[in-house]
């Protein structure tokens, strides 16, 4: 802790703690709310601690939901999408950052352009396309269109730009092939960026609602968020307790993934940058 005295550090802890409380309170409220009755959830002003704690929301949720199936679908989709993005985005991101080749600028333009197009405008044409190639009502239909997102390419490119170029030249001097330089020298250094991309991609895929809803023709292809939405909102009413219980159940795997990947970020410190 160079350059910071004890008082300054305490002050910083104080500020961060206040911020932390402000920031996590809705999350805490969501979990507490999942144990409340509909009546209590509609009270004004809202309560913090459940007056009459109930497990009803959870028992209802699990008895009405084919939970295993939906959990399985969500996991397969999110893991596949995350793996694809980690691999493909780091490949192209590296090429765009470190290598020289014809069409590089145009390719980067395509990546950025794709990133900037509002998804809502291509939604219907994309669905028709996916329907025409017969991917509807299948897990590949949920995975393939999201396997290499421009967001990830851009993230990895920016990260690789921050790495020293000497490593590339050194690898070439040693006679290593281009792909080997990427695989054995640069990829191991990309831990923090890959972890970040992993967290963000997993979260995005796990929470994706509209696309799985539209692609699934039968309930057996539903993912968790789609299935949860089934019971919580009606035409004219919302079952807040069920909704919050569902949201809590959905968020747990995300928390786990966050914790796992975050550890990699810390481990990454030891191996990244200048040794």
């Amino acid at each position: 802790m160079t350059g910071m005295n004890a008082r300054g550090r305490w002050l910083l802890y104080g500020v961060l703690t206040v911020l932390l409380v402000a920031v996590i309170s809705p999350f805490v409220w969501m979990i507490l709310g999942s144990f409340k009755t509909q009546g209590e959830l509609l009270q004004s002003p809202p309560t913090w601690w459940p007056h009459t704690a109930t497990l009803d929301n959870y028992t209802q949720l699990f008895s009405r939901l084919n939970f295993k199936q939906y959990f399985f679908n969500s996991t397969v989709v999110a893991v596949a999408v995350t793996a694809g993005n980690l691999l493909f985005c780091s490949m192209l991101g590296y090429a765009l950052a470190m290598l020289d080749f014809k069409g590089k600028k145009a390719l980067f333009g395509v990546v950025m352009g794709t990133l900037m197009i509002p998804g809502v405008v291509t939604f219907v044409p994309l669905f028709v396309l996916v329907a025409n190639i017969g991917l509807i009502d299948s897990l590949p239909g949920l995975i393939l269109p999201f396997l290499a997102a421009p967001f990830g390419v851009f993230l990895m490119r920016q990260f690789f730009l921050g790495l020293p170029r000497d490593l590339l030249d050194a690898g070439r001097v040693d006679g290593a092939g281009e792909l080997r330089i990427f695989r054995q020298i640069f990829l191991p250094l990309a831990g923090p960026a890959l972890s970040t991309l992993g967290i963000l991609t997993f979260l995005g895929s796990w929470n994706n609602f509209l696309w799985p809803l539209v692609v699934a023709q039968q309930e057996k292809t539903y993912t968790l968020p789609v299935a949860l939405a089934l019971y919580s909102t009606g035409q004219n009413s919302t079952q807040y307790g069920l909704l919050l219980a569902g949201a809590t159940v959905v968020v747990l795997p995300v928390l786990l993934v966050f914790l796992i990947f975050q550890r990699r970020v810390i481990e990454g410190i030891a191996t990244t940058g200048i040794k």
Binding site: L12, K104, P192, A247, L255, I274
Partner: protein, 318 residues
């Protein structure tokens, strides 16, 4: 340790300068260009299959009078050129939505990025204990269901019993009716969006900060540089590629600002929080696909211009 000058990120200009060819080129099994395209292949294939055609079709749609009933025969519609675009610019609601979006981005983006960067630096270098607790805590808004967020924030922003107004009351300020008053609804949503999104920017900043060698800080503080000076002259320049990434992606997200007004205000009161994306979404809902597509591409152009400005500003200036 001796390579401190080389670790400076090269930003945009670096990518255009020809890379120094190392000796012994003949031994390389794969040319640089071939290797690059091999690495690009999966993305390009997926792009060609799943993005290119929908983009072409939606672009075409923006130049036609396509309504939802035409979608089954997308090419038997009337091409009306740029009529949709001129119509959008004359549409008072769209203009209002554009102003709202600008308001949101201009205030919301610096706020979000400022908090995110401050939190990231504090967690990276400022403190030593409970790091992972704070990191996880600051990330929870991102993973909390928008429904729970909406319920809690409506409570926070309430006029009478709202937490924010209660706190303001302690220092003698009478808080406004945040969501009910057209002047205060947007500030309320900006606050909420910053709260919701700073966690994402924070973890990307944290990843970027791992690339800033600690030895540089050590050397500088031996030379007597204060914390702010080190941040300004070491951390910030090293962080430039990350900064560019975060600011570009945040501006893309914020220019497509949608979820917060959608769950909180539905664009009201009196259209004070309707955004360009939300209005576009509504037009899609009404089945005006041609018109909505043209508005989408107006948003696209705005985003591209804003991104281009950021690429210029944050380019490496060495």
């Amino acid at each position: 340790m001796s390579t401190t000058t080389e670790v400076t990120p090269r930003g945009e200009t670096g990518s255009t300068s020809p890379s120094p060819r190392a000796g012994g080129a003949g031994r390389r099994p794969l040319g640089e260009g071939r290797a690059a395209w091999m690495l690009a292949l999966p993305f390009c294939l997926l792009f060609l299959v799943f993005t290119a055609w929908p983009v072409v079709q939606s672009l075409f749609m923006s130049l036609t009078d396509t309504k939802s009933r035409d979608l089954r025969s997308p090419f038997s519609v009337n091409v009306i050129g740029f009529d949709n675009f001129t119509r959008a610019f004359a549409d008072p609601v769209f203009r209002k939505a554009a102003l709202n979006t600008a308001y949101f981005v201009v205030i919301g983006m610096p706020l979000t990025l400022g908090i995110a960067l401050a939190a990231a630096v504090a967690l990276d270098k400022g403190i030593t204990r409970f790091r992972s607790t704070f990191r996880l805590g600051f990330y929870t808004p991102v993973i909390t269901s928008i429904v729970a967020v909406a319920v809690v924030w409506r409570f926070l922003l309430q006029e009478e019993f709202g937490l924010i107004n209660t706190v303001l009351g302690w220092v003698g300020i009478t808080g406004p009716n945040w969501l009910g008053d057209p002047h205060w609804s947007m500030p309320g949503l900006i606050l909420m969006a910053s709260w919701r999104n700073f966690g994402t920017a924070m973890i990307i900043f944290l990843a970027g900060l791992q690339g800033v060698p600690y030895v540089l800080h050590e050397a500088a503080s031996i030379d007597g540089a204060g914390a702010w000076q080190r941040f300004r002259h070491i951390t910030l320049p090293m962080l430039r590629p990350t900064l560019l990434f975060v600011s570009v992606t945040t501006s893309i997200g914020y220019l497509q600002f949608f979820e917060e007004p959608f769950v909180m205000t539905n664009g009201g009161p009196l259209n004070s929080t309707i955004s360009m994306s939300m209005y576009t979404y509504k037009q899609f809902g009404f089945g005006n696909y041609g018109y909505a597509a043209s508005m989408s591409y107006i948003i696209f152009v705005v985003i591209a211009i804003v991104a281009a400005i950021q690429f210029r500003l944050l380019r490496d200036n060495t």
